[in-house]
């Protein structure tokens, strides 16, 4: 559903323009029922070429490795068996969303589900297809995580792959396209000034930085979420709530409530990426002591209560 929100015209035209046609998509295609099974069988018998196997949702191995918790409708065959067989024929296999990439939310539920990502189980390579899996184009599974992923991430990646214009160097070791996941969600955060001064929100409606108290993981989460607008001009931070690092393996269960910052001795457990703890502590203390009154007061209000000083023109 996120995919349909693509804004370069519309999602279907964009894929069409890139030469991507659906053999079958469960919510878009006309084809239904046994005709779908015939398409899948044709792929397996080599009569039909499969450029992309695109998987959404957590593949379930349960119960006891049988996969019977998740049957492909009309086929009496577990979804995991279809996926393993189809992946062997796919030019590219693409996992879309944090469930299909790393396992996602169901990993935090009933363990009998035996959920997994397509080629990762949380941050461990392997998953359903195994660490050695490569698609026909010689790529491991391409991972587009996010709950939900940005429609651009999906459509642009598929479009580039359809013309074979991406190489292995365009992906990180977890299979994520670097074009998007070479960024942190923190980049372009609208609360940047509050972060700089560690002027933290105390309650959820405050304008201050959400990292210190309210669970924001934007400084640790990969993705260009705050640079690439969602639904016009949005992002989680634009919507006034914390980044929960939904693009990251294990986001579903960090051992702490989603909207609170886990701390030890008053210091957040999750520190900004690439920042040694001692530096963070020193910098935080320094910036807190240097916080302008305006920033401190606005941080604890739901709207701007203290305007920036108006400077006169310099002549």
């Amino acid at each position: 559903m996120s995919l349909l929100g693509y804004e370069g015209g519309n999602a279907l035209d964009a894929l069409n323009a890139a030469g991507v046609n659906f053999l079958w998509h469960p919510t878009i295609s006309e084809t239904s029922g046994q005709d779908v099974i015939m398409i899948l069988e044709d792929i397996l018998s080599g009569n039909l070429e499969l450029d992309f196997l695109i998987v959404e949702g957590t593949p379930l191995l349960g119960p006891n490795g049988t996969g019977r918790f998740q049957m492909m409708g009309g086929s009496d065959k577990p979804m995991i068996h279809w996926l393993i067989e189809l992946a062997a024929h796919a030019r590219y296999s693409v996992a879309v969303g944090s469930c299909a990439t790393f396992g996602g939310i169901p990993l935090a539920g009933d363990t009998r589900l035996e959920g997994t990502g397509l080629q990762f189980l949380s941050d461990q390579m392997g998953g359903l297809l195994g660490a050695q899996y490569k698609s026909k184009a010689g790529f491991p599974v391409i991972n587009i995580p996010g709950c939900a992923p940005h429609p651009d991430w999906i459509i642009e990646t598929l479009s580039c792959l359809s013309e074979d214009s991406l190489t292995l160097e365009d992906f990180d070791p977890e299979g994520r396209p670097l074009a998007y996941f070479g960024h942190l969600a923190h980049h372009g955060c609208p609360r940047n000034e509050y972060y700089e001064f560690k002027a933290s929100a105390a309650k959820a409606s405050d304008q201050g930085c959400l990292m210190e108290n309210l669970g924001c993981k934007g400084t640790q989460a990969l993705g260009d979420c705050n640079i690439r607008p969602w639904n016009g001009n949005g992002s989680c931070l634009q919507g006034s709530f914390s980044c929960i690092a939904c693009t990251m393996p294990g986001f579903e269960d960090t051992g702490a409530p989603f909207l609170q910052t886990a701390k030890i001795a008053g210091i957040p457990v999750g520190l900004p990426s690439d920042m040694p703890k001692a530096w963070f502590v020193a910098l935080a203390a320094l910036s807190k002591s240097a916080t302008p009154v305006r920033v401190r007061e606005n941080a604890h209000a739901s709207k701007v209560v203290h305007q920036p000083t108006r400077k006169k023109a310099t002549h």
Binding site: I28, G109, G232, N233, K303
Partner: protein
């Protein structure tokens, strides 16, 4: 008599499989199944109650916000907090935006493409129907672009769609300025323009002013829009008789402002509306792949998969109200709410493909009007949010009218963590399997008399009937 399993069902949300028994001319019995177990309720256990706000929307990518609102509301009841008026208005706008976009997606991408299938190529209207062709139709492309623009309301209010965290028990963390009210008005007016130019070919006020069956039939003769085209097809194909079922209709009540709902809560049965007896809701698991007691009150509900259970055929439980199956959705909402048009339509047709579909289209006009009002009522200088505290232990239940009908959340908290969380979703009601009395669910009942055309292997009527309910199987099995 022969038996057949239909699946996978395309153009519905989630996994769906239907087992049919039939003669040459009609279906005689149907059993509906979503062939997967998800266990989302078990993800909630032993967590901080507020984690429900993150987990519940992730049950579904299409009705994410309705799950968010239900979670926020049930937590609000637990904490004894009521959002400030602005918080209610913003929540209503976000939910209304999701419902509008869902109805658009359903009509243009899920339901109408069936009339552009080769099956109908000899029909006089087939050329016109091609604008709804799956993936390629010109009407679909226009609707998608209108939908994208509408979802800019989410960009302003919810940060993104799906999966927002701005909706809280005590209102919304997002607050807006006067300038953003203007932006919201502009976005909504482009949606209204789409509806007025393409869907209705008349003003949305004309649609909400349809007060009787004769009003509807008179309007239908004059309109050139997509909704009118649907009614023309409906007349030609007998959709006003197809997929007929009758059950009590239920609405959990929707879009409150200052304690008054836009759509009332209640149950319509035997021409009367009575209060919703919440304590009479049970889930029957006699035909579900689920363990635990045969009949479960949601507060004592159990989410325990039991795959090799005798007589079980669905992962969906069978919710019952006072022992009876119940239908939910846009039609139920407007009959319960006393809309004269839908009271009369229901009296004539009960629930059919035509009434279920038209109720959704009508609701798009109604919601667009309501949303205009809510935007105007926001007071940017007022409060949007209030903090709340949860008791160490407690229970609460809350309802939301999601696009597809009544969504209920039941929470139990013990020693500051969630000890049970049970969800009864709209399609859980509509696509419920049989209960211990062998009473079929609404879809199963609606399929029972479905006609089969001469020589049909895969009856097209089944496709229309199933999609006319706009099922969300992801939520159903949650």
């Amino acid at each position: 008599m022969s038996r057949k399993i239909l699946g996978p069902f395309s153009r519905v949300e989630g996994h769906l499989e239907i087992e049919l028994e039939r003669t040459k001319t009609n279906i005689t019995s149907a059993r509906v199944n979503s062939p997967m177990f998800r266990g989302m309720e078990t993800v909630m256990l032993k967590r901080d109650p507020m984690d429900a706000l993150t987990i519940a929307p992730r049950i579904c990518g299409i009705c994410s916000v309705s799950q968010s609102v239900a979670a926020a509301r049930v937590l609000g009841k637990l904490a004894g907090v009521t959002p400030p008026r602005n918080g209610e208005l913003i929540t209503n706008l976000i939910l209304g935006c999701e419902v509008l976009s869902n109805h658009l997606t359903h009509f243009y991408m899920f339901f109408m493409p069936d009339f552009a299938r080769h099956h109908y190529e000899t029909k006089s209207w087939f050329g016109e129907a091609l604008r709804f062709k799956a993936e390629k139709g010109s009407a679909t492309a226009k609707a998608l672009e209108a939908r994208n623009h509408l979802l800019h309301i989410m960009g302003v209010l919810a940060g993104k769609w799906p999966h927002t965290l701005t909706i809280r028990p005590g209102g919304t963390t997002q607050s807006i300025k006067t300038t953003e009210k203007l932006k919201l008005r502009t976005i909504l007016s482009s949606m209204t323009a789409f509806l007025e130019e393409n869907l209705f070919a008349t003003s949305i006020d004309d649609i909400t002013n349809l007060k009787s069956l004769s009003d509807l039939r008179a309007w239908q003769k004059t309109t050139t829009g997509d909704a009118g085209f649907f009614l023309k097809l409906s007349d030609d194909l007998g959709l006003a008789e197809m997929g007929q079922t009758s059950s009590p209709l239920m609405s959990g009540g929707g879009y409150p402002v200052d304690g008054v709902n836009l759509f009332a809560q209640g149950v319509f049965n035997d021409r009367h509306v009575t209060p919703l007896p919440i304590s009479e809701i049970r889930e029957d698991i006699s035909h579900s792949f689920m363990g635990g007691p045969l009949i479960q009150a949601p507060f004592d509900g159990v989410t325990d998969p039991y795959l090799d259970k005798e007589n079980a055929y669905s992962w969906c439980k069978a919710p019952r109200l006072d022992g009876t199956r119940v239908e939910v959705g846009a039609l139920a909402r407007h009959v319960v709410n006393g809309e004269p048009l839908f009271r009369e339509l229901y009296q004539h047709q009960t629930s059919t493909v035509e009434t279920r579909i038209f109720a959704r289209l009508w609701e798009m006009a109604k919601l667009s009007q309501a949303m205009q009002g809510w935007i105007n009522e926001i007071e940017p200088n007022g409060d949007f949010y209030e903090e709340c505290e949860f008791p160490e232990s407690g229970q609460a239940v809350a309802f939301v009218e999601a696009a597809r009908g009544t969504l209920g959340h039941w929470i139990s908290v013990k020693e500051n963590v969630i000890s049970n969380y049970q969800i009864v979703a709209p399609t859980t009601w509509n696509f419920s399997p049989r209960d211990h009395n062998n009473q079929a669910g609404p879809l199963e009942d609606a399929l029972e008399k479905a006609p089969i055309e001469k020589g049909e292997v895969d009856p097209i009527s089944v496709q229309h009937i199933v999609r006319s309910f706009d099922p969300c199987m992801a939520c159903t099995v949650h």
